[in-house]
Structures are given as C-alpha cells and as structure tokens.
Symmetry: C2
Subunit: 321 residues, 2 copies
Amino acid sequence: MSDFWTQMPEMAARLDAVRARMRLVVSGARFPLSHAVVSLIDANGKMLRPAFMLLAGGFGRRRNVDLTGLAAAIELLHIATLIHDDVIDASPTRRGAPTLHTAYGAKDAVLAGDWLFSRCFALAAQSSSPGNATLLASLISALCSEEIHQDLERFAWPTSERNYLRKIAGKTAALFSLSLRAGAVEAGASPSVVATLTRVGYDVGMAFQIMDDVLDYESTEGELRKPVGNDVREGLCTLPLILALEAGAPGLRPLLGPAAPNDDSVAAIVAAVRDSGALSSAKARAATYTDRAMRELASLPRGRAREDLHAIVGRLLTRTF
Amino acid sequence: MSDFWTQMPEMAARLDAVRARMRLVVSGARFPLSHAVVSLIDANGKMLRPAFMLLAGGFGRRRNVDLTGLAAAIELLHIATLIHDDVIDASPTRRGAPTLHTAYGAKDAVLAGDWLFSRCFALAAQSSSPGNATLLASLISALCSEEIHQDLERFAWPTSERNYLRKIAGKTAALFSLSLRAGAVEAGASPSVVATLTRVGYDVGMAFQIMDDVLDYESTEGELRKPVGNDVREGLCTLPLILALEAGAPGLRPLLGPAAPNDDSVAAIVAAVRDSGALSSAKARAATYTDRAMRELASLPRGRAREDLHAIVGRLLTRTF
C-alpha cells in the first residue's frame, strides 16, 4: 500500500477492503492467471479513483451505502488498462516484477486484460445503478478513443493549448470526475452536491494531469522512476512543450522531428523548455484549476467528508510545490 | 449479408436493423478508427447470436419489445474479440481486407478492441435489465478465461472427452444459450420457456461446435476458406482427435509433439483421424445434442417463433450432412 494514506488510517482501511474485493473478483472463477493479476493488485499505487469515490459517498444521505464493489470495479478497470498498456509498449517489467506479457506472451496478456474488463463491467452492473454502469463503460471507451487520437498525433507536435486541454479533460479529468460523481450518486447526494463534486473532480483532474506533465520535464530519474523527457521521447506534445513553443523558445522547433529524438535531442528539448519559463506558466494554469477546485469544495456542506476531501486534494496538488 | 437468411426475409430485415444500430454505435463519438470497424461490421457473417436473441424475443408476452440494442451489443462484442484475435494471431487480413492491426499497428488495434468492448457494455447496460448486462459481461469473461486455458494447453494434447465438452460448453454453448435466454427474458417470457430456451441454446451450441471441429478434419480448403487440420496445426486437441486417440488409431500418438507439426505430419494426423472412424463417432455425439435440442424445441409453445427457431436450428446443424 502506498504511504499516501498513512495519515488517514480510516481511508487506508476502507481501501484495504476495496483491494480485498478486487482480489476476490480476480481469484474467483476458473481464471488461470489469477495469481499474476493479484500481484498487480498488490503492487498497485495510491488508489486515488476508489478513494475519491468513497469520499464522495460521505456527502450522501445514505451514509451506510456500500461502495466497495463499485470502487473495486473502477480500480480493476485501471489494472486492465495497465495489462494492455504493457502489451502495447512491450514493457518487460512493472514495479520490478515481470509483466504478464513477458511471463505468458502477448496472446494471454491481451485475453487477461479482456477478461478483467468484462469482470469489471459485470461488477459495475451488479454494484451500481444502470446509469453509473453505463457512465463507467462510456468513460472507458472515451479513454481508449483518446489514447488512439494521441497515438495518431505522435511526432506531429500539435501546438494548440486548447487541443491539449480537451485531451486531458477527456482522460484524467473525466476519470476523477466520474469517481466523485458516481460515489455521490450511489450514496444519494443531492443534485447540487453531485454537480459540485463532478466539477471538483474535473478541476482536480485537470490540475493533476498538468502537474504530472510538468514533472516529466522537472523531476530527476529517482523521483518518478522514469526518465525525464519521457513524453517528448514518445512523441507526445504536452503543455510545457506547447507553451515553450508559443513563447518562441530558441532552437526548440528544429529539434522536433517525425521520429523519436535521441538522448542528446531529448536533453536539449528538456533544457529549452525549462529555460523558456514554460514550466512556471504551466504551473500557473494548474494553479487556476486547483484554486477553482478549492473554491468549489468550500461551497459543499461542512463536515467530515468535506474536510477529508479538502485534505487529500491539497496534498495531491501540492506534492511538488 | 450472408446468404443464410435469404429464405427468411423478415429476419434478414431485422438483422439489417441490428447492423445499422451497430454502425451507429461505432460511428458516433469522436472515434478515429470508425471506418475500419464499420468495414468489419459490413463484412460480418451470419449474425447467429443476434438472430437467436431476436427469435427468442418472439416467445415473450411483450411482443413489441425492441431487442435491437441488446442484439447489437452481443454482436459488437463478437467484433471486438475478432479485432483482438487478429492482433494476437498477427493476421494480415480478414475476409480479404487488411486487419486493423495491419493498417494501424498493434497498439491502436488493442485500444480499438477495448473501445468497442466498453461501448458494448454501455449499450448492454442501457438496453437491458441489469441482470442481463451482468450475464453478458460474465459470459465474456468466461470466454476469455477459456481461451487462455486453451492457449496454455496447446500442444499438451489432453485426451479427456469430458474436458473437451466442458470447454466448448463454456464457449460456444454458453454464447448461444445466453443469446436465447437474454432475448426471452427481455421479452417477458415465462420462467419455464426461458429455462427451455436456455437449454436449447446450450444443446445447439454443443452440436454446432462439435460439427465445426469435425469440419476441420473433413472439409477441403475451398469450403471453409481455411486449411484442413488447422486445429491440430495450432496444437488444439478437439473431439475428433480425442476419439481417434481413444480408439487407438495406429501411429497417431507419436505424431503429436510439443511444437507445431509440419505439413506432412498434419496430413498424416488428419488421415489417421479420418481412418479411425472418429469422425462418425464425433458426429454421433453432435447428433445426440441436436436430437435433444429438437425435443426441447418441440416442448415450447406452438407458433411462428417456434417454427422459425426450428427451421434455423435444423439448417444450422445439418449444414454438411
């Protein structure tokens, strides 16, 4: 379990219950690769999406509603996408352990992801209203579609900030937003609280993704466990690069070609983006979303649920500044 | 459209409506590979699963229930698995056209399959009772799990007839069974009719799959558009081979090794299976399921729905003998 929750033992315990449910879903039936998927569940990170869902449940009238099943479904979907990501990227390891793809081949890894997808949808259909099950399925399809768009745009270096914002809105922001919304709906929160939480999720997701994209230009390898400049290496044009290009960072444009840049080019691109002041500008954009999220949070009914959500959003969005 | 339905113009028209709904699902949203998935829908075969679902709807009290959405969902799931199958097998073409995998690469093909999976589940959740949405999702996970089992058993040549029957029960039979069951449930058929149709679907599926496996040893290349002995080439041990081994077909066992047999070995295996009388034995097993399906059909309420279902089951299971 991530250290993220040590200061909130109750949430840590509830997330343990979600994780236990996830293991149960995966271990049941006659699924031959259960142990491998269970390892992925055990190595899983902060579990932010289920945590947001559980927190949103605290705003409802039905305080005792059990959101464990739906929270497990949303996090298992995340695991399913990780399995397919590893096949797609042919990654040999994930968090130090061999990927399913490495251990069992691409065929069984694709099938294991498909298996998990359908288990999740079954769980979501069982554990929630048809509206939320539909919403969850629609969101996943939107995420896949967005990933394909992104893949088709690789190394084309599109420079529209608006296009970038739309992409992350359909990805991270939509997922955070859905987690809060679904939790609130299932717990019977009022329509205005549901609407506010939906907006909070959107704003938190936008800020979170922008900061994540900034970190790729800022962190040293140890912190993120991935090389700096990973996005540009993969041909992805994120906000820091877009803002640096807009600011006319000298020598930057010619470094961006139609194929993966070599290590020297990546270093030069990262340096040019850093020197351009684009990271501060991007952080300012993130801060705008964070501020809005905080204002919206302040308009929610007072109480434990609001305090907890406030604390987590604060820690999440200030992790490096 | 397949020629299969030319003698049943009403069903052909209803399946056209299902196909139109499938196209609509795929064309909506902002999905970048719609055209490629639409081509797969256009090239699609008999659409047996949606046809069975629509036919089962005729046994319900709610004669006007619209099963188009659920029927489209079940057939789109089939298309999603085809897309992933082509990635897994690295197939260059399907029905003469380049596969998604060939045209856009493995990454976008995996994502396109995932996209379609989640669109289907959203459609199923919208178009049916939560019970049927859950059933559909559970069935898909069972199919994936079965495929993995099958993959792990390749070239191990397990000789248990019982094991074989269990596998096809969880695969083809479960899918046919679900199609009939879900159609009947949505249309408000009585519990006893639902139970009978569920059994009919199971028996038809068992007979259909056994005959399919027999055909792989029987057909010439032209008929099936795939080489004879395809299963054994891929290391799959189907009923004809199991029965031939049980019958002690001379010289057969030593031909079955831990890797893909060459063309000569395949020809020798196919000949040994044919000479052993295993094909007649396998057909007798299929006939047992067919007979049972026909008896069960005869116990259903008289009328147009029963006549149509009877006609289709008859044509399907007697396609080559």
